[in-house]
Symmetry: D2
Subunit: 384 residues, 4 copies
């Protein structure tokens, strides 16, 4: 676990994440797990009463009716929050992030970062201008084995990358769930709140980011076929993308929320000149790595041959499964290291600096935009 | 195992499959396994001495120097061969098949059927004209669980099909093996002998055929990105295809021979409105089937809930693995049933009529052609 | 997550778990994860300076030099701890538990509960006398799928149980690690601190408890072969046990710390008249359940067909892996529910009452004792 | 595939294996697969009419009413059989083997070899006296990966062996199937025809033989608990055995035919000082091998790092699954090599000499006997 000399926990605020929300509770567990934060201020719901009740249930000292009031008040306090977590539906990410950045407060933001490229570009500008820390919770980058893969690929163990298959398949929207009043399905299939991409923005961005994060490659062009299978749905629920990456690499990306039988099946397969590897999110503690013409090797979290970046993100000995919460917590803990270093006027350790940031958020929005443009143009190759 | 009243084994001839060949020996095991054939005539090699020696080693009674002589002589004999197996490199399939069909002899032909669409169309015409039996050895259709899948999908257990992922990944051509004198690599990467598709024709056609065979869907349009990763290679070694199928279904197809770490990783995932399922060739005795909102079920060859078509192709109780030879043998045995019925002037049993035929071979060549046309046209959507 | 009306977090104390310890940090994460506790008092190390430093690093308000002083002082405070967690080496569990129970403080104790049967019997008496809550952290009982199994078996879904295979294999003691100064290996192989059972007490007790917990069966007799493979080791490192359970069921139990290649491979297979099932700790979110003559079903945490007891222990949707920390946290959270109910003078919910207690601890010590007696008596059948 | 200079196929006879039999058909496929035998004589059934009909259906030239007549007649012919396959129920193995050995004919015998130790000892004497070849079809020793394991263990790659877990679990006798008229269940649960061991003789002997075959270790003592779970059954259906092997190794053996959900789940786990490995019959083409403190490696049939003995038993490239028939065929092919060498007055290749023989059959019967004696003696340690 990360070392710090700061003699207190960081003070965390939260916007969104009230009753019925999913990701807010995950953020709170993640913040707590390594004991680097205390949640002291929140605007949990747009309903003032619910917001106050939820705050009391969560032992949050200061509850606000609006994020704007919260940003202003916390910025003014001596003991105001160090950082805010934004866990609202997507369309609110931008104004809230803007408010807190302008108030001088670091930001942890759920993904996708915004609902369009223009907003994303503005946030990039604002982060550059303020110099504040901006963490984007692409959860899966917190998994130790994803960091292991990144270190292996960048270290050349697979040679030049040729082909990547990145997939994210779910089935929770195989039926018109949004027509049943389910809160999560409702806002995630509403373009006004979710953004123009459905499955594309919700999980396609994870699959895209992971391919880039682990290999350091960028996307030059993509050709996409975007489908809405469920009648009446207002956004896509299945996307197929062919990608041409930097250095001549190719990739296939498939994201679907109608793949009956798949729960949260994010997977990554990377093939280089000298080796290949496979990782599946539902079995996150293992990689199968195959050096060319050698026997495949099973790499386990905490086991033999583990990289420094992977060890940094590991809490338990091998064989004791870590999961989704721990991956999420790693992002929080790394951001805590970054903020702590800022407070102590130190350099944060390099291993704590792998958290996706505002630039990744912008790239993600450009990916969403390019996929939709390609699809509208009958799958023509389209630049990001 | 199939019942027959014919009081003899069928007489099999073989063209190709001499020393250094791979698939010829597989065909011979397949023909022998269920004891329906005896190999009595052959032209095993283009080298007459080698051909004769190989025939003697294999206890083959009659050895011929050329396939033309063989077709003529066998057709003239009272006890001539009932059927010929063609196991040469691809460019010879067409002339040999033509010669034997014209001589009135049934044909079992390895795939891809020809090296272009025109040849394939001619074979279709010739088979229609002669009324002879033409079996195309798409091996994987002989697996009991593939037939199980077909019966489940056609029986509506998955509902309307929405999305298919069909993949065939290998790594044996990850290096320029053809430059080392390896016989298999040499001809399979030579467009003159293999046809214009490399990986595309060799294994892409399997992945394509399997998607259609199991679902009954046809391809309306495809968009393809075709790559040659290994420098100096004369054919493709990696293809990515997006497909628009009949009934609004979509599919992704990936075939690669440079996917380091993959041995013979053919897999099929099918998602319908009411269920999904997964099958992997390297674990061919199992399917995972997930009815919508129910627990996934493991279906095992010979186990509970097995379909008639699957049982027909099963020899051993569940838990006793059957493999590639048995799948291949099933094609031979089904063809034996068909030929036997012809001899006995009966109808063959329906379960013995799932063997791919000359029309499948034509569709395969149209697939190869469409992929190459799309690729040349910067991945434009292309009809078959 | 459990609902509570208590308007504060529970106050937790900890004895043991200072620098170099493993399980203490796990207990702290577990206590934090569902936000039901705050750690306010501790005696983390037998070294006073280290203890104080560690307390400061962990933001613990009150640090004590001895557990006796801590029990006395905390009992005297208005805002004293509600419950103490005992995470020392095994030989200290008994005196510490005794001290806190006598001070009127609830106890969470790591396992094995004591180092002999006599101590265990005394704790049973003391808990009965005081009426205090005593939780024994058999971690694996906190896994949702273990609770699912229990509910399925007790609900009769497998019919009468015939055969159980319970295994716990590790390899971290395959070499004489204790001779290298490794702290964990040192005390765990020292009979004075670990108790007379090595592998037997450390992990064999888990495998035994799990078999009983999930089935409700008790052990009538056992026959054991106990081995020390590593030269110079003072305790066993491999045990084989045959068990005769209640209702005529049989079981096999194997625990080993020299099984090279096994990380933390605890597994459970249960076979009844009407069904069988399998669970592996390293893939804790899944069960394979096979009803007699039906297709095996994969049951996933949070997925279709999940029992109430399993849902109670679940935080994330299916496909988002939960792991070891979450299982451990479940025990803490259930104990929190129990303590809260006590404070509020309510009945705790039944689903929160599956945490192993002092009687389980006694049964575990009787198991250790019986195994060692059987082994000394050349594997004679021995009653607990 | 093995090379031979014999200019003919070997002449095979068969006793047993008529209508309704299971293993006879397997032997015939096995004999055919590598084209080393032709089945020319048989006494397929004790019913003369059925026997003749079955022979005709199988294209067998010479059909006999009794094995005695067959042995006599075939021995007298110039072109008599080279070898006989005995595939009857167990109680007939001994008299038939005796008859053919005394007639000077090599024997391939199904297992268990006899129904008691005395018969087995007589066969050993008879084989020694006649010098004839006697192959015992412990199928699983024909798997390439089992031979790979043997070569690795004997080559020291695991160091001194400490612990073995050998299991064979099925569920086909979980209900009183023998009371329904099922032919296989009927004789296999009849002590008069099957021998005194039920599950013990049928599959326990496989698990025992495999542990010894792969490691070269012998059993010094065993302690067994033998159970009949299904009411009315006349033989055991579940056995648990603890074993003390040579060189201080230990083993656990479990065989069951009432383990609901297990199809043919034979598995082997071997742990030595320097490494461990795992193999499962239902996925026979892979081994997981874990060298101490290194990453586990997946060894695939035909893949990198394969031993000579394994390559010898391999027909297809890696990724093309071989299964049960191919394992069985390997025994036939190796015996063909041995007989051919005898005919040609040569030494057979060493790799063809791994087929279990009459001594293994005797050891198997001693195992059965010792398990039953131990069980009767309340699981006392018993020497073979």
């Amino acid at each position: 676990m990360a070392e710090t000399k700061l003699n207190r926990r960081l003070r965390l605020g939260m916007v969104g994440g009230g009753p019925g929300a999913f990701i807010g509770a995950v953020h709170r567990v993640a913040a707590r797990l390594d004991d680097r934060y205390e949640l002291v201020a929140a605007s949990l719901s747009s309903d003032a009463t619910k917001s106050a009740e939820a705050a009391r249930d969560l032992f949050v000292a200061r509850s606000y009716t609006t994020y704007a009031a919260m940003a202003q008040a916390e910025a003014a306090r001596e003991d105001g929050i160090d950082v805010v977590a934004i866990v609202t539906p997507n369309h609110l990410h931008y104004p809230i992030a803007k408010a807190f950045l302008e108030a001088g407060i670091h930001v942890i933001c759920d993904k996708p970062m915004t609902i369009n490229v223009a907003e994303a570009e503005e946030l990039v500008t604002l982060v550059q201008k303020t110099g504040l820390i901006f963490g984007l919770t692409h959860t899966y980058t917190g998994y130790p084995m994803i960091r292991q893969i990144r270190e292996m690929v960048l270290g050349g163990e697979l040679g030049a990358i040729r082909m990547i298959q990145s997939e994210y398949a779910q089935d929770w929207l195989a039926t018109p769930l949004e027509q049943t009043g389910a809160k999560q399905a409702d806002w995630r299939t509403d373009p006004a709140r979710s953004g123009p991409g459905g499955c594309l923005g919700d999980i396609g961005t994870h699959a895209f980011h992971l391919a880039c994060f682990t290999t350091g490659l960028t996307c030059e062009q993509l050709a996409a076929d975007v489908t809405t299978f469920v009648p009446g749905r207002r956004v896509d629920d299945n996307i197929q993308v062919m990608l041409r990456l930097s250095n001549g690499a190719k990739a296939g990306l498939w994201a679907s929320q109608i793949a009956v039988g798949e729960e949260n099946d994010l997977s990554l397969r990377i093939y280089g000149e000298k080796g290949g590897l496979t990782w599946r999110q539902e079995d996150p503690n293992h990689i199968v790595f195959t050096p060319l013409k050698e026997q495949p090797r099973i790499i386990t979290r905490g086991g033999p041959g583990i990289s420094a970046a992977s060890t940094h993100a590991t809490r338990l000995p091998s064989g004791h499964p870590e999961g989704y919460f721990e991956a999420f917590a790693q992002l929080y803990t790394d951001i805590a290291d970054q903020i702590t270093a800022r407070i102590l006027q130190q350099q944060p350790p390099a291993v704590a600096c792998l958290v996706p940031g505002v630039e990744d958020g912008l790239t993600g929005m450009r990916f969403v935009d390019a996929v939709l443009r390609s699809a509208k143009n009958n799958s023509a190759w389209t630049s990001l």
